[in-house]
């Protein structure tokens, strides 16, 4: 039985796996994200150590070029991460392994995994949001990731400022106080000097961050009527945060949306495995 490979290419670490299928993983590994040359070489060497793979799926941090007709297909494009702007990912592995490569954003991969194997089984549509170093989202409609011109960049919506959070300027280099600039891990740290889970549970930060994330959920429902919103990533591990987001999103919606009670905001059914499982799902089948 053949092997497929998966790479979840993150800004902090690369998660790697080989398996007979996305649900039959035989080995996993993680490497810290260093320079592109070193990181890609290490990832390739680890995959090679498990024998010949027949296909590889890559879910990458972004922005990425997903246009198969573009010279930049399979590249990370204008990331602020040092060394990684205009960096070829998919082509490196295509050259090395001579196998078909599936390439998409990490969050589109995770959304696919949650829809096929996790919290969104049988859901008509699903969004996967990660709240960590950055904020990103992938959207599944008709069982496929939504691409449009390129891919969603959900962290860059412009939420209403919370009345008790009007001073902080925001940390997004492009939009300052977009969602990522206000509610990502580094944004939380920038104004309160701690992560959300380090702050006492009665600290106003919990209410403020839940309000911003609930605005993303509200907006997703208004624009796409999405059935299941999965919220993962490091910040979402803060005790009580998911409850607060659910509660606040319900307040914002005011029971207006059609099919209102069918909308769900949930934790990842696959836990931390959504990303790597998604990468394996992106591997083209023979």
């Amino acid at each position: 039985m053949g092997l497929i490979g998966g790479i979840e290419a993150g800004g902090t670490k690369f998660a790697l796996a080989v398996g007979h299928s996305p649900t039959e993983i035989i080995a996993r590994h993680e490497i810290p994200t260093g320079s592109p040359a070193k990181t890609l070489e290490e990832a390739a060497a680890w995959l090679e150590s498990h024998g010949q793979i027949s296909a590889l799926g890559i879910g990458s941090f972004g922005p990425v070029d997903l246009d198969r007709t573009s010279q930049m297909w399979g590249h990370i494009t204008n990331t602020p991460k040092p060394g990684w702007a205009i960096c070829e990912i998919a082509g490196f592995f295509a050259e090395r392994f001579k196998v078909p490569i599936g390439f998409d954003t990490d969050v589109n991969g995770a959304a696919l995994a949650e829809h096929q194997l996790g919290a969104g089984l049988d859901a008509s549509s699903l969004a996967y949001i990660t709240v960590g170093t950055g904020i990103g989202g992938g959207l599944i409609v008709g069982s496929k990731p939504v691409h449009g011109v390129a891919h969603p960049e959900m962290g860059h919506i412009l939420p209403r400022r919370h009345a008790l959070d009007l001073e902080f300027i925001g940390i997004c280099p492009h939009h300052r106080d977009c969602l990522e600039g206000l509610a990502s891990g580094p944004a939380i740290n920038a104004r309160w000097g701690a992560s959300l889970s380090e702050l006492p549970s009665d600290h106003i930060a919990h209410e403020i961050i839940a309000d911003y994330l609930a605005q993303l959920a509200h907006t997703l429902i208004a624009l796409t009527s999405v059935e299941v919103i999965v919220m993962g990533g490091g910040v979402m591990k803060t005790p009580g945060l998911l409850d607060r987001v659910q509660h606040r999103a319900s307040e914002l919606g005011a029971a207006y949306f059609p099919g209102n009670t069918k909308h769900k905001i949930v934790a990842p059914g696959l836990g931390d495995q959504a990303g790597i499982t998604g990468a394996l799902l992106l591997a083209p089948s023979a």
Copy 2:
């Protein structure tokens, strides 16, 4: 050659058409929206006067129930419009004509028409926004309207308040100052006592309304990477408004989104015919 019928069921008027196909209309008619019983009867009688149709497509104002397994399928549900809440539309015509009925929101129909025959030919995805008595939107992904749990209600996103528009409370009965509560025709009239096109071109209202509508465009791009955003409806006929929305959306995006230059905000390619053409496209083909 057989005939198909189309009904664009609006809160102000019902537009009717019969044709050999969506592009071969042989007769059109409009009737003012009165009580449901009277309006539906008049629509049916006009359609009957043109001979036997083989299928009927209906694009309706909403919210509507689109779940074919629901007892409420084909009904308008919780509209504030007097007399029309919990009103059966599709079932009335199915009973009368004994033909297959296609039923969706008016804006999903218009989006389909603009994608297949209008401003979005060959676009990977398209949103159709109407700004008039209300604000609504439909979204086409993979050549089909996006449904999710039910259908989008794009007018109910929560834009940031413009710095020069902080007093007005908003007119949405559910959310007060959601987009529809701030930027629909009645909301414009409520604070300035005139329509946008009646106000001088240097009146601040133009900048304020453009800012709110640009936030919808920005949010659609962030969440779906949508390629073409078509903006129609009465308010969008205000001279200069589309330009202002394009300009403001570009400012908000700050050239960040991947594939940035491919995103377009345009007027309807089908002009005022997007809705009725969409209704005809919703008619099931034999």
